[in-house]
């Protein structure tokens, strides 16, 4: 990551005794859409505020294009932020809100109005230029905030849960707008959110944080397929975590003895020894359901319940000897063909390739 536009180098933030962010390093590339995701209090907003210069790191430093930002007040940085509360100036018109950053840079009024108006037109707000921001709808204000941050043509745009106040329908439309804007402008977006849908649908890479610690950084696919640890697996929620003791370490797979019998797990770079306990996970969308086992790992289970998510169905199965429910994700049509009723006994099976050790996959 030596080519990174933004480098976060051993950055930590403490507020008195409370550690908001523990020592963290990662880079953000030119033109990358990076999402920082986690539940409230995980340190994601503090991270963003440190980037904007609104908080000074307790340790480490942040570099923008190789230049240390240490001690640089927020008004000397070029990292505009789109606020969760939008923070539009209520005493200014839409046009003057958008032009504020230009005004602070000493751009003359005619030029500043021209550029602001161009952005308003781009975001379909041209007709509202002379209105007061309070007269706009939530979605319109959202776009004003976006225009205000983008009008100065920054290299990096910071976004702090910008869509959390919008209804689902509007949020989806804004996601598409943000993604296409980011591609078109080729600038770096750092997007903080608690929403997995937002992070996974827009970002090139996702940083998952918990209690001030980065749990995993990777592409949405990589995180989805190969959660780095139990926290990420449970946070993403698309796998079932199982436990066994190592019976045999093979070339491709590792045999484990579990409460429900012997199972094969992809070896990856697993380094455990014979007899050692090991956690592994099974991807929910790679499990087959039927009357007969179709893959080498199989358990007999009782169908408990199901839940629709879009055109996919998540099934919850009770397996004797396993504490958590076994999660299975099927296309809705496949589920329909099975014609299962709650309480039915089924066989769930999966290949060794669907099961992995944490941190094992490269």
């Amino acid at each position: 990551m030596s080519e990174a536009l933004v480098e976060i180098d051993r950055v930590a933030k403490r507020f008195g005794d409370y550690t908001a962010v523990t020592e963290t390093s990662f880079g953000i590339g030119q033109g990358e859409f990076l999402a920082i995701m986690g539940s409230s209090g995980c340190g994601k907003t503090t991270m963003l505020r440190m980037l904007a210069g609104l908080e000074e790191p307790s340790a480490g430093e942040i570099r923008l294009e190789g230049r240390s930002q240490k001690g640089l007040p927020p008004w000397r940085r070029d990292l505009p932020l789109v606020w969760q509360s939008l923070a539009l100036f209520p005493f200014l018109s839409v046009l003057d809100n958008v032009g504020f950053g230009l005004k602070m840079r000493g751009v003359a009024k005619v030029e500043r109005d021209r550029r602001s108006l161009a952005w308003l037109h781009k975001l379909e707000l041209g007709e509202f230029a002379s209105r007061n921001v309070m007269q706009l709808s939530g979605g319109q204000r959202q776009r004003v905030a976006l225009a205000r941050a983008l009008v100065t043509e920054p290299k990096v745009l910071l976004l702090d849960e910008p869509l959390s106040a919008l209804d689902a329908h509007l949020s989806v439309r804004m996601q598409a707008l943000l993604r296409s804007l980011q591609r078109e402008l080729g600038i770096t977006f750092v997007y903080v959110t608690h929403s997995q849908t937002e992070a996974f649908s827009m970002a090139d890479r996702v940083v998952i944080m918990s209690r001030g610690k980065v749990e995993q950084i990777g592409s949405p696919q990589a995180i989805y397929r190969h959660p780095a640890n139990r926290f990420v697996a449970e946070f993403i929620g698309n796998v079932t975590i199982l436990r066994g003791s190592v019976a045999e370490v093979g070339e491709q797979a590792v045999r484990l003895n579990t409460a429900t019998g012997a199972m094969s797990v992809s070896r990856g770079n697993f380094a455990g020894s014979h007899g050692a306990p090991a956690d592994f996970y099974v991807n929910a969308d790679q499990i087959a359901i039927g009357d007969e086992p179709r893959h080498e790992n199989h358990v007999r289970a009782r169908f408990l319940s199901h839940k629709f998510i879009g055109n996919m169905v998540t099934l919850f199965l009770e397996v004797p000897g396993i504490e958590d429910d076994l999660k299975v994700i099927l296309p809705e049509r496949t589920y329909d063909c099975l014609g299962m009723q709650p309480g039915d006994s089924v066989v769930a099976s999966w290949p060794a390739a669907a099961a992995h050790f944490f941190g094992g996959a490269a």
């Binding site: 609104l54 927020p74 008004w75 070029d78 990292l79 606020w83 923070a87 209520p90 005493f91 018109s93």
Partner: protein
């Protein structure tokens, strides 16, 4: 149902209504009526004459007192606002909420002592042989005439209005959404530009209302212009005292009082409009 409850609740409105009637509306009405009475042999006699109005409003001494009072009150509003603002800013932005509440409580303490006493103590500072001039002569400067001047009056007005204005400003500033200040910083506005471009517009209502309070207090005050300003040239309050003392001219004093009330009503409406006026 709601109309039913409001019907049942209206007796609760009686006390405030009664209060307004007894202590405000009736005296005001009486003042208005008196302004048409006449004084015969130093005694008030009910009458229906315009001669008090004619007498006061046609005199240039009345209008120069009016102008003087207006200028002094405006000066008091401006000076008090400027003196309060730095203090209000530091109370609103730099201290914890706990400290702020404590400080606001201490702002009320000056009201525990009589305003007259506070004004008298200023005499010791401002008189020709007073403390300020003594300090000035220590560093080799000539003494300044401060007592019995407009400057003296202004000092008194600021003494009167400063705590209240600081209170109003602090409460207004403390309500400002911190995100807006950070947003300004984020858009490259340094502290000074943030003050003028964001904080002042957001604080406008409290600044205007604070200034209005200072104006109202100064406009009607007679202690400061009498004991620090020397009573000359007179303010309207000085004029009222003079008029009532010389020949029991209560009707003429009533004319002055009504003009003062009207002035303050118009000024207040204009100030409220300025403070809360909506953008298009």
């Amino acid at each position: 149902m709601s109309s039913n409850t409001s019907r049942r609740r209206w007796p609760l409105l009686l006390p405030p209504l009664l209060w307004q009637l007894t202590f405000f509306l009736l005296p005001l009405l009486f003042l208005f009526v008196i302004s048409f009475w006449s004084v015969v042999n130093f005694r008030l006699e009910p009458d229906m004459t315009l001669k008090n109005w004619d007498f006061m409003l046609s005199r240039s001494s009345f209008w120069s007192a009016y102008g003087h009072t207006w200028a002094l009150a405006l000066g008091a509003a401006v000076v008090t606002t400027c003196c309060s603002f730095p203090a209000a800013c530091s109370l609103a932005f730099t201290v914890s909420e706990r400290t702020r509440k404590l400080a606001l409580m201490f702002l009320v303490v000056p009201f525990f002592t009589s305003y007259l006493v506070r004004v008298y103590s200023w005499q010791a500072f401002l008189s020709d042989n007073g403390i300020v001039n003594a300090l000035l002569s220590l560093v080799g400067l000539d003494g300044l005439p401060m007592l019995n001047s407009d400057f003296g009056s202004l000092v008194g007005y600021v003494t009167l209005a400063l705590p209240l204005v600081t209170l109003v400003q602090t409460m207004g500033l403390a309500q400002i959404d911190r995100n807006l200040i950070e947003a300004a910083h984020n858009l490259r506005a340094g502290p000074v530009r943030t003050l003028f471009e964001v904080i002042m517009p957001l604080a406008k209502p409290s600044l205007v209302v604070g200034a209005l309070f200072a104006f109202i207090l100064a406009f009607g005050d007679f202690v400061a212009p009498t004991y620090l300003g020397g009573g000359a040239p007179p303010t309207l309050s000085n004029l009222i005292i003079d008029t009532t003392k010389s020949g029991q001219q209560w009707p003429r004093a009533a004319v002055v009082a009504i003009v003062m009330i009207l002035t303050l009503v118009v000024t207040s409406l204009a100030a409220v409009r300025l403070a809360y006026g909506r953008r298009k």
